[in-house]
């Protein structure tokens, strides 16, 4: 029992959920199969939901699981299955010439270092925000968070809340317009398709004495998408 003396329940929850989050995030980035990436994303989303509960945001945790894990990831999986792109891809090819991964690593470290430095500097008060003691928007631990959140949404943010419904309608209309079945005639003078077909034709020709092309052309799988 000695070893567990300094361990609080919140620490255990944080470590487990945080490990799930980071492992899931790494799985999204590193897995070569999009289906595995989507399932890793579920791990991250569940971990974040657990961390929401640990911070007394119970309603948001439920919404996180229902909306993200229940709807968004399922939508991702539907699209993957629908399009038949659930094949593993080769992650070792360098897509944009040399140095892109190095640049990405530098950007990532910068993104990581800046907020960490800010949080470490003055005990998390880098934003200059002060606790909302006595204000109308102050959290009250004695009432449920759903009640306070609902009151905030339907009084302070009522207009924004109504506007989000307009946004959702626009999104639905946009999705229907974008994903509808295109008629065969519309394929003909599509510059994207023509450029790709020309590229494929050029690649199919015997290269002759040309120097090998630097970019790796992925073979088009013609049986997919039928």
């Amino acid at each position: 029992m000695h070893l567990l003396d300094g361990v609080t329940p919140e620490l255990i929850v944080f470590v487990l959920a945080g490990a799930a989050c980071v492992a899931g995030a790494l799985g999204v980035v590193l897995s070569s199969n999009p289906v595995h990436a989507a399932l890793s994303l579920v791990g991250t989303l569940f971990g974040i939901a657990v961390l929401f509960v640990a911070q007394h945001a119970n309603f948001l945790a439920a919404v996180q699981v229902i909306v993200y894990a229940g709807a968004i990831v399922v939508l991702f999986l539907f699209v993957i299955m629908l399009l038949g792109v659930d094949r593993a891809e080769d992650l070792s090819i360098e897509p944009l010439g040399g140095g892109q991964r190095v640049a990405a690593a530098i950007v990532g470290l910068g993104i990581l270092a800046l907020p960490l430095a800010a949080f470490a500097s003055v005990d998390g008060e880098a934003t200059g925000a002060r606790p909302a003691v006595g204000a109308a928007n102050a959290l009250d631990r004695s009432t449920p968070d759903v009640a306070q959140l609902g009151e905030s949404l339907f009084t302070t943010y009522l207009f924004a809340f109504e506007v989000t419904s307009v946004l959702l309608v626009i999104a639905v209309v946009g999705a229907v317009v974008l994903a509808r079945k295109v008629k065969r005639a519309e394929y003909v003078d599509d510059p994207l398709v023509e450029a790709h077909l020309a590229e494929l034709a050029a690649a199919a020709e015997p290269a002759g004495d040309e120097a090998p092309v630097a970019t790796v052309e992925e073979p088009v799988d013609s049986e997919v998408g039928g």
Binding site: V107, G108, P131, L139, S152, T164, E218
Partner: protein
């Protein structure tokens, strides 16, 4: 042997949020599959919502949680439209990567 009590401060949650955001950003820059790039965007959005909830708890302010609701709604709308675009794209070019979408390139 007696260990000091390890307190989980809100700064831990903020640090975890920035780690997740950095992983998502690197994934967005490194990966070329449009679907996986989209998942990395979701990862970054979730890192930010975690940060919002943590600040809401630190400052005892319900507005942080209200913002998360709006982020969720906007993320749902964004996923619907973005996946519509990806479906329209991949239906024409089943093996398209983000590098192939160059029609608007000057």
């Amino acid at each position: 042997m007696m260990l000091a009590v390890v307190e989980v401060t809100p700064a831990w949650y903020l640090a975890l949020g920035s780690v997740l955001f950095a992983i998502g950003a690197v994934g967005l820059l490194v990966r070329r599959n449009p679907l996986v790039m989209f998942m990395c965007v979701e990862l970054m959005l979730n890192a930010v919502t975690l940060t919002f909830v943590t600040f809401s708890r630190m400052l005892n302010d319900v507005n942080g949680q209200s913002v998360v609701v709006f982020v969720l709604v906007v993320a749902a709308a964004e996923v619907v439209v973005g996946l519509g675009i990806i479906v329209a794209l991949l239906r024409k070019l089943p093996s398209a990567t983000a590098d192939d979408i160059t029609v608007l390139k000057g």
